[in-house]
Subunit: 251 residues, 2 copies
């Protein structure tokens, strides 16, 4: 398999009457603990939406009448300061939840990086279900607690890691969540430009690019074209990320 053959999954074809049972995020999303009858309640208010790559779904401060689960594709959550400085505060990968019950306004900009498929719920209706469906509430709490942990982990990266470690940390996250294994190597497509990477990493795009070059020069990664990445040795990459603790939780 050559690097250029790695593409994002776009296999899920939805439409009226598509069953949740066929949904690729059925086992990880906010609905994953639901019994069949609970799923019916969600099914009644759900609708799929396709968002083209590059489109902004919400801007910080805007009203937000829906919540949603990412089904396919990659999005970002970010904040822009008045002088233009931008910081991404979260990646939105399949099964991630967008929006917040109980809040009518977006706190962050939400953007589609690749074409995005989301499973959308009208917010008020979702809040009602949340109150009457413990398995949804429980799962949302679990997911939020997990998100909180990753946000805190990311604060460690932003607060204490060098540019090289930050870039390695980012590649490691993507390799774990998007990578395909192929003969001991991990292969994946970067869903982001250098600029977006820089926004996530709290660096400039030039520094980001330099560190990518350095990691390539040192054999930690190989690249092909703009976005295909090969990681020959995930443990080596984890060491570069400073995550160490002898290679915790690889895979």
């Amino acid at each position: 398999m050559t690097l250029s053959q790695i593409k994002f999954d776009r296999t899920f074809r939805h439409g009226p009457g598509v069953e949740c049972g066929e949904c690729p995020i059925r086992t990880r999303a906010v609905c994953s603990l639901c019994e069949p009858h609970e799923l019916n309640a969600l099914d009644g208010i759900k609708s799929y939406r396709e968002i083209p790559a590059g489109k902004r779904l919400y801007e910080a401060g805007e009203p937000m009448e829906h919540v949603a689960s990412v089904v396919l594709g990659v999005g970002t959550l970010s904040r822009t300061l008045e002088d233009g400085r931008r910081q991404m505060v979260g990646l939105l990968l399949p099964s991630d939840f967008i929006g917040r019950p109980g809040r009518a306004e977006a706190l962050y900009d939400v953007e589609a990086l690749t074409d995005l498929t989301v499973c959308r719920f009208e917010r008020k209706g979702f809040e009602r279900i949340l109150g009457s469906t413990p398995n949804v509430a429980t799962r949302l709490l679990q997911m939020t607690l997990d998100e909180l942990d990753s946000a805190r982990d990311w604060a460690v990266v932003l607060g204490r890691k060098s540019a090289r470690e930050r870039v390695a940390s980012f590649l490691l996250i993507l390799a774990r969540r998007l990578g395909r294994q192929s003969g001991g190597e991990m292969l994946f497509q970067l869903p982001v430009t250098r600029e977006a990477m820089a926004d996530y990493l709290g660096l400039t795009l030039e520094t980001t690019s330099r560190q990518m070059s350095a990691l390539r020069r040192d054999g930690v990664i190989a690249t092909e074209g703009r976005s295909a990445v090969r990681v020959p040795d995930l443990i080596r990459l984890a060491e570069e990320a400073g995550d160490d603790s002898d290679g915790v939780a690889l895979v």
Copy 2:
């Protein structure tokens, strides 16, 4: 009122038979939405604990058989990298929740900065209550979502703000959560050393100290002794923090 007279509240005297109704965090903590009969369930498994300043309650990786609410005092949540770099990922102020239902191990170091009073619950018992008491589950979800937002906001500070802006941001948070108003000024005690501030801010203690001096020189703050701080103009401080958006949500 002189700065040195500002002290932390230590007015809550607990002991066997103390009613939740007298609890200073009754209206904000995880129990705040509870009906009287729900409170009884929590009351049955709660116990107050005093932790002296400086003590570590948990270390990352350790088993954690309890969860708790901070009642009085200030604590920290932090992670230490193998080479000694440390990043604080959260401040624990009164009403904040410690621990996570469903996880048996601490992810971060938890330390008492000042003497700390916590209202503690055995984790398994708390998880049972969570399942049977929607008002606890709802409130915990609210609080976790809020925490997630602050963690993300902090990522913006760490990723994009200058040393001066970071120090100002930190002072602003403390002024809002710990400050007492006195004739248009805000007065509070720093519950942390410069080193702990630096750990929170992703800076060195020297840089932190220099920026404190600079803010003092520029009249943004006044200090007395090591930890008393006076903020003559909260809006000015918010501007220095780069938080701007014309002084959002002061108070």
